[in-house]
Symmetry: D2
Subunit: 270 residues, 4 copies
């Protein structure tokens, strides 16, 4: 919902055997898909509790009274149909208590458990999107001519194609490492690697898609090439599931922690 999950405002108030929900949630991805039959809503049940136990997750059905889908939110100019991103208003929505997932105050905990897998899944797709953009770029460069030769023969493109290949390979290996760690030592220990790849992969893909757009000329910015659509979609990944800056903050703090420990050990040894 925000860089800082503790910003969430939606209120989930207990009233007898029900919870009453009030709030607005924009960027509810998938909510517009006709196959979407339930919403998982996060909000504050225990606003007085400590930061990490104020929130709960609760299941809401789209046709419950008080639920209004206000609008679709386009990404750049794409509606991302049929998936879509909805702005949803919850006004005195009444939900039976048993719809709370796991129990009151466990919303943050659930979110934490889910985010690692969600993030790496995005990164895996990102590698694929980048590969596809590189393929398209090379095909274009080898088939289109300008100034009496194939565009690929204007050697600036050698540099860009090579950088693309290098960066895809490096990101792929980091994704594989993170996934392997998730399997072997768990999401918690793998969280630095997940944060790293979450920052690195979308940026890598964006650069390659941008170069591919350039190679395609005007065809790159319109729908024919698929590239502008990929660009828009990858651009959201520098924000969704945590903006770059927030992941970098986490990574840096771990690094500083290691430095502090090292300095301490050195001092102790002296």
């Amino acid at each position: 919902a925000s860089s800082d999950a503790t910003n969430i405002q939606t209120e989930i108030r207990r009233d007898g055997d029900e919870y009453v929900i009030n709030g607005t949630k924009w960027w509810s991805s998938g909510a517009l898909d006709p196959r979407c039959k339930l919403f998982i809503v996060m909000g504050k049940t225990n606003p007085e509790s400590n930061r990490h136990t104020q929130q709960s997750q609760i299941i809401v059905e789209p046709d419950m009274p008080g639920v209004t889908i206000k609008r679709n939110l386009p990404v750049f100019g794409f509606d991302d149909a049929p998936h879509g991103h909805a702005e949803i208003e919850f006004k005195d929505v009444r939900v039976p208590v048993e719809n709370v997932i796991l129990g009151e105050g466990r919303g943050f905990e659930i979110a934490q458990g889910r985010l690692g897998p969600g993030r790496i899944h995005h990164c895996m797709r990102t590698i694929g999107v980048a590969e596809r953009a590189l393929e398209k770029m090379c095909e274009r460069l080898l088939t289109r001519e300008a100034f009496g030769k194939k565009i690929s023969e204007h050697s600036v493109w050698e540099q860009r194609v090579a950088e693309a290949r290098i960066n895809i390979e490096m990101c792929r290996l980091l994704v594989l490492k993170a996934a392997d760690m998730m399997d072997k030592v768990g999401n918690k220990i793998a969280r630095t690697e997940i944060a790293m790849i979450k920052v690195a992969a979308p940026r890598m893909a964006l650069k390659i898609i941008d170069d591919a757009i350039q190679a395609f000329g005007a065809c790159g910015v319109t729908t024919d090439s698929g590239l502008a659509r990929s660009y828009a979609s990858m651009r959201t990944l520098r924000l969704a599931d945590g903006p770059d800056e927030v992941h970098n903050r986490t990574i840096a703090r771990l690094e500083y922690g290691k430095t502090g420990a090292r300095m301490h050990a050195r001092e102790a040894a002296e």
Copy 2:
């Protein structure tokens, strides 16, 4: 139509008192605007002539027989209505000979005369777009909070805001210089400066808009902020009216020319 204007394929064949036009032109900007009452079409009247005198420009009316608007070309999902970019087919379109502008074979010459003013006009607008994005970014940073303080107080943003201001100022000065030269010494002599700013300005704006999108979070990529729309529009300027690489090629060749002259003078002096 292409990086290399000599790529144009549309045929304009003389037949008695008429010209017969055959070809397809995509990216006809403004053609979809209801106020658009005539098209200026460029094509080859003299395919055997030398490179720069093969083409002519001719006036065509939208409702002449054989003219078909095939579709609108969106830019990153935006239809750019009411302006729009059309793909237009010309099939045996017959136009009276007097519709040729200036005379047969002068198409390239006309294009050359028009491009300088067109390009600088885009660059001027670009400065404005960048200023507006910087304004929006600063307002967002000063009003939104994350992790217990205003985003502006996370000091990475100081660096980005400052870089934005520096780059706007430098581009503005180069636009002013180019415009001043156009007034005083003419478009031909000013063509290097025009090429320079055509490369520098859109890139500068894109970086600032991208940072502003980041500052806005999810709001940045949707229509509410106006930023994604600006991004899409600025991105086309790295292609339209000549891709970056082609302008850079021109600038570099002039630079090499100066170097050659300098080396020659030095040798002569020895």
Copy 3:
């Protein structure tokens, strides 16, 4: 002496008709030059005073008792002779009271007055250094061959040469604007422009010199080309006379100030 001038530690204590100086100052540029006949030392005369009036500047002669030049500080291995950067120790150095410049507590004020002109002077030289690197780069590219053609014909170099020319021109214009403002409205009002160019010019030059080094191959990193020396010297300018981050901080704060005023005016108007 530091990003934050209030960090200065050297003590200048009044003792009758004399001041007694204690402290160490590294990076005393020019102190090793045989023509250097006096040092201007800055230190705290009034440590209890407010931040900006604690310090004074005082004239010290190199051969006064207690003055020891400890060593030369090389820059990337260059000794910058005959100029040089010295580490100097002041140990109970006694200086007559009349050597204080302007009066006690005015050190910061003097520094402020001097820094603007010093900074722009560096930026002007920077433009020249960048021009010279671009000249050398073009000469090399036009005369050296690899893979059967001149290096200049590998078109990636067109892009780099053009970017170099564009960036030099933009920085030159910003230097000229800043200088013009200093003349017409004074250093104080021109301080944002001075800060801007102080950040932009060295970075621009470093990129061009780095590309020139690349064009020269191994010759670029050694003394024959002069480029490595230029690189080292320009690199210090991202630190000396205020690191980039500190100037950017100043620029950003002015920008935020304008934003605040604009938001306030808008609210007032509503």
Copy 4:
């Protein structure tokens, strides 16, 4: 000796039981080390042969008549003692025929076999240099203050530290992959991966060292921190053992080859 190994000019002419060597070779690394007891010289024995069999490698002893060490070549301002890079002149140096390695015309083949291992060894060291720079940077940021707080608390540094960690990890994985391939499938098949890491690793290290220099302020550019020395040394790796552009060219051509094959297969399938 050059981007393009076929540029080599040194002549190795057969004369009875001896070869007579004439030429100058600068950048003979290690030649100045007192422990260096023999030189391996590459030159043309068969200038009429095809490109890859013109050259031979031959063993020369430093004190043979006609061998003159002309000078040391500093890197930036560092002499890299005791190792050093020498410019060596060979004037009618006579060497017994049995000093030719493997046989006439096999110089290129030997060089090819040696380059892969040499390159990856540099990349492995590069990872270490980058790690060390990151360690130093973090220690400095956590211990030095400016503007009332630790420099690490100015959050722009979080971004830089995190990027450093991400880029080291990605490069490390690519080095490991290349090394693993060399072991398992041989240097020839691993040559793309070696080329990739040869481009990626030095650039990664240079960025981190440059940030570390910035964190150290003036201390970063002088010898105390070791960072300027590391920078100079890493900068040569973008040239030595093949400039970036040449490796990128190789990588791109392989990519274009794959694209061509894919397009061909697709056409065949249709």
